[in-house]
Symmetry: C4
Subunit: 210 residues, 4 copies
Amino acid sequence: MVPDARALTVQTDALCALARWCAGRGWVPATSGNFSVKDAATERIFISRSGLDKGQITPADLLELDVTGNLLHGDGRPSAETGLHLVIYRDRPKVHAIAHVHTIWNTLLSARCAAAGAVEMEGYELLKALSGVTTHAYRECVPVIANTQDYAALAQELTGVLKQNPAVHGVLLSGHGLYTWGTSVAEARRHLEALEFLFEVEGRRITSEG
Amino acid sequence: MVPDARALTVQTDALCALARWCAGRGWVPATSGNFSVKDAATERIFISRSGLDKGQITPADLLELDVTGNLLHGDGRPSAETGLHLVIYRDRPKVHAIAHVHTIWNTLLSARCAAAGAVEMEGYELLKALSGVTTHAYRECVPVIANTQDYAALAQELTGVLKQNPAVHGVLLSGHGLYTWGTSVAEARRHLEALEFLFEVEGRRITSEG
Amino acid sequence: MVPDARALTVQTDALCALARWCAGRGWVPATSGNFSVKDAATERIFISRSGLDKGQITPADLLELDVTGNLLHGDGRPSAETGLHLVIYRDRPKVHAIAHVHTIWNTLLSARCAAAGAVEMEGYELLKALSGVTTHAYRECVPVIANTQDYAALAQELTGVLKQNPAVHGVLLSGHGLYTWGTSVAEARRHLEALEFLFEVEGRRITSEG
Amino acid sequence: MVPDARALTVQTDALCALARWCAGRGWVPATSGNFSVKDAATERIFISRSGLDKGQITPADLLELDVTGNLLHGDGRPSAETGLHLVIYRDRPKVHAIAHVHTIWNTLLSARCAAAGAVEMEGYELLKALSGVTTHAYRECVPVIANTQDYAALAQELTGVLKQNPAVHGVLLSGHGLYTWGTSVAEARRHLEALEFLFEVEGRRITSEG
């Protein structure tokens, strides 16, 4: 099957625009974070290479992988966290874009709520920006997985968390950052903006209450 | 009556410039927020279509409505909150521009002050940026309406709040955001900037005091 | 005496660049704030006109005044606070540029320290950015004047404060904002950046301690 | 030995780009901060001249020094803190770039932790952005040196601190700012972004706990 080159270009362009926008907001400091898109026609995955300043990223900095993570095209090393992207694409078949960012508020909240196992946010209008949510009278429980450098264990843990939480729009790693996703780059971006806005609101609310 | 095409262009251009400026400050995250202008000659309303990233908005993304909300021109769906714009234009005849934004501080303050029914701000020089206010020795009480997904009920509630508070420059929906307005886009923008500045000052003051 | 047209151009250009930079940081919200420069050769004063969005200011938006405040050239109304600029130029003969801004932290601190009559900052390296200060082991006491809409009384109060505090680099109006100055636009900007940085540091320090 | 002109150009360009980026974030207010790079071939040091707004810096604003600090080329005065750069280059032979910034959070934290003698950060994924750190289960102890205007004494103090802390990626001066470095401008920037991110996270965590 021949992929639709133009649609693919648009998606990789949009993905890089999202990554550069995140860099401008300080959400991927010190070459952290990673971003990927899955082509609908070929199921190939395009992911940012490791060690890159995301403020400068262009489609030439993406690596092309198959769904099991084999490198098909591109210069550079896939991020050590590529396996987490593969788990999400495998277990959420409708997902075609993933963003992973390190922000002040997701770092603070994920560390603070690690023992509780989730960051809970309820009653905010902006929850409606999450796909399938139609009212503010909703509680989003973003699971917090304990951070580890054992990526195989992390992939297994993430598999379990996705299975147990079919409705979640993102997962946090404690003291590390957020993974979120969507059926398109636009939806992944909407989820990212909404969750990070809510993390800051909730983080400020909780810390002001001591 | 033929509308003044150039004046109209300037107003829709200014409205879109305001929306893009808000996007740059993070005040309309995740395609939230909406903006409208009412043409003085024709009484037609131009409002941002639903689901749009406001960072990219141009006049082509505005829908043209009559004063009762019928879609006259434009591609896309009016926001579910269009009815609130119509109430404001109906009950504040001098108003020609409306902005609705979701910010960190209006979300925090509106949720915190929902039970009290208003956010009160007093003694700040910047209150003088609000039309008709000539001294800092003034108390602006921004009403807080409980958020709901029942937009007909919300429109009715807003009608009552506008009637009971003839001097207010804006209305908050709890955990949701701010509506503010002006006789022109420039005045709506001035009210928006002033209220959001004061929300942040007041929010920081209150939360630092526990 | 014929003024040096080029030097004057550079100063009014630099003044407008400073005003636009302040607008970008949110320091002159809702058309607040004002900026002026005094030409060394002619002693004429060029000041931003009232009611202007400082994000768009150019030298054409400046009004030319003599040292007693008479309008010589320019379209628009001088700000009500022009008299305060005139007092500073009169009582600080070396001053050739003045900036007045409304920021979150100068509003919070000036309100909080109004009763004490001054914001005191000590021990910070950045104090050395203030003209004449050569060590961090220095205490800058920025006087806080109670805000009022009686500008004649305010001018008189400012006259007294400048006389009693010959070494200060700025004056705060409570719940209103900062006036700071320098022998050139560059020095006024350096004082502005330094004082606002220190206000934020001190504001965060004080409020985190309850 | 003839230096590689192109490689040198790239490094001084990259250094100035870093300085301008810091200016945009408010990390070098009021002409504070300084930046340098050491040419690998000639061991010559290129450092920002004193009193410069870093938002405008270009390679023409760099002074060329030998390793003992003698001025070889360039207009302007070396910063009083040049001696600290020379100590770092002398005692860390692999270092080829140094950044010194004044930020809100490094000022707050360095003052708060001065008595303890170090800012300790542990358990964050972003620690892995520091060269040689391979796990979040790591504690970075950034030494805090008491600030002084006796630069000879400060150079001697820094010499001792570098000797006693062979693994550190930066040093704080209390109430003053951060020095950090790398084998290249890119690595110095990565360390700078990571440390400042962690200072903000840690500063917010500590202050919210009272």
